[in-house]
Symmetry: C2
Subunit: 413 residues, 2 copies
Amino acid sequence: MDNQITEQLKLAKTACRSMQNINKETKEKALKLISKALLDHIDVILEENQKDIDMARDNGISEAMVDRLRLTQARIEAMARDILKVVALDDPIGSIVREIHRPNNLVIKQIRIPIGVIGIIYESRPNVTVDIASLCIKTNNVCVLKGGKEALHSNRILVKMINEAIAGILPEHCVTLLETTKRTDIDYVIKAHDYVDVVIPRGSAGLINYVVANATVPVIETGAGICHLYIDKLADLKMAVEIACNAKIQRPSVCNAIETILVHREIAPAFLPAMKEAFAGKVKFYVDETAAQYLSGERATAKNYATEYDDYICNVKVVDDVDEAIAHIYQYSTKHSEAIVSEDYELAEYFMNSLDSACVYHNASTRFTDGGEFGFGAEVGISTQKLHARGPLGLQEMTSTKYKIYGHGQIRK
Amino acid sequence: MDNQITEQLKLAKTACRSMQNINKETKEKALKLISKALLDHIDVILEENQKDIDMARDNGISEAMVDRLRLTQARIEAMARDILKVVALDDPIGSIVREIHRPNNLVIKQIRIPIGVIGIIYESRPNVTVDIASLCIKTNNVCVLKGGKEALHSNRILVKMINEAIAGILPEHCVTLLETTKRTDIDYVIKAHDYVDVVIPRGSAGLINYVVANATVPVIETGAGICHLYIDKLADLKMAVEIACNAKIQRPSVCNAIETILVHREIAPAFLPAMKEAFAGKVKFYVDETAAQYLSGERATAKNYATEYDDYICNVKVVDDVDEAIAHIYQYSTKHSEAIVSEDYELAEYFMNSLDSACVYHNASTRFTDGGEFGFGAEVGISTQKLHARGPLGLQEMTSTKYKIYGHGQIRK
């Protein structure tokens, strides 16, 4: 296994040099052909996807997980459309980020370039395969895809379609699928300092923590989302309830859904009963002493506050003021997304400035933390670290820079 | 030791929250006071520095290394001046990087913010302590400084001066010196995922490799510099010789000095004898077969090409064309800095575009890869990785971003 994976990584690294010279028109042509190939082969993709679904059912995997795995005609058509959205976005490669003119007449240009080989380690949803390949192609990067074994048939057919579509147009090995079976196999990827420029893990907390703890290749940490919603005393009540519903129950399984609602003491008597009615019995609560007056549920513990449920479960805590809310978020947030609902714009600004999460919202749902919703076309993941990129990873986040320095014989004194 | 270091890291992390709210005027006041404090205490700083120098001599350390350790009145005055240069630079914190208006009327602002706690692990030169503290203060970052034990007395007095100068103005613990003695002590720092946002190792290849291999905290890799100079057949001969001299012998111990000169076959008969004369016997050569016709030296091996000498030693290789030069650089470069000397501007552009090193020069010395020379005031180090930042790390590279999203009740459908 060692030899096979390492061999694939070497070939990927070799593809970088030709890939960085591919021009905009060629990239766009390749992406359009991939989009067309998906539409032309819906039947065979669905057939392969069915094998993964059958296997998942045989293994007793939950229907929620099976749903993440499932492709449909509509989903494949959406994937094909998303590729065309990526085609339509501005090409960041080659753009000038900064230009510096020095007193000694050196001209320094900072230019946007591809990162090189991007290793993505992900689980479940096969559309990720296509999203990432298209973002990487658009940015002249080579991608090495290590999908979950539960989606192997789907990923295999998708990468086959991609490679058939781009054959003769883009360099060989610029989109590579690694077919490994054990988690420790990813060690070959995350320690391949010579062949991989960055690793992006996307999936469960277990996977992400494993990569962070064991990688020697630079990592962009993604995804864990313990997100918070703070309802201020000056919140518009109707808006507060709508945003709470959207952020908690519109799609609880995703990372930008909230886990904890913090409520100002003065608005709790009005807000909590209204929220309870809107949640319509769908949500299990963990509550503090005050919230317990309005909601039934077990008493919330520190462990509850530190859990990403990804489910119809919600912690509710009543606070005395915005500072108590901020302190709670500092203690428990994974720094993904937090929101405040308030008509006090100054206070909202204070809340947003005080927190250092990737995305902070005023009077909007945390569910918007998403590459598509930000206008990035697609996303490679959502960074929750401070280095390189934060929030949804779009095209620009898949680039590095270099300095080109123009002289006419300057030497340093 | 565990408890003491971890305790210091916790206090540093706690300082982040107040540090991020410090305004521009306060930061500038603090930096000016530090500059003044250094000038006011030159005698005591020199006295402490002498202890390090005496100890180094007792330990039989080379005079070149002792020189890196030495502070003088002039060097302290230069440090104080550099702080004022940092004061004069634009403050990146709070600036808007991008503003996105979405069809649903969400307004998304990407704002520049501090990174948080920056751990710097470095060796020797005590001026690094002041450079980094001032860049971190200017960017509202908290810094944790782990200097070399050979510079302990110097670093201790400098950090004492800094903390006395900023007492009551900036939060306590925003500049922290870790006084550890064993290399494995740095494990507490590079694995402190909860307290440290980024680690920047600055020093020997051994130190950097240790940090990269063992850190779980995100790392910015710096410094290793196997840099190249390519003399094209259409080079201006006089300029080529001047740049070769500057890049090789003006200060060979630094990372932006070159290790290998690649020479086009057609210009070798003119260039190599002229270069030999200019080097005036100061440089030991490792040469290929063709270069051996003009220079005496042992035959260069792959090991020579892969060595950062940091000394008066130089590999010289004759190549058939620019592509052979590029291929050589791809194989051996640490992706720090490379230069081409040529009057063929199209060829130079091809050379610069083909390489993916942090800094690529046309008709100028690689010695300009430096925060000061780029106009950054000072530098935290020189990044040779693709992630987050490349080349000299100035103020902007010490920042992250967050998204502030403004709505009026938007929820996701």
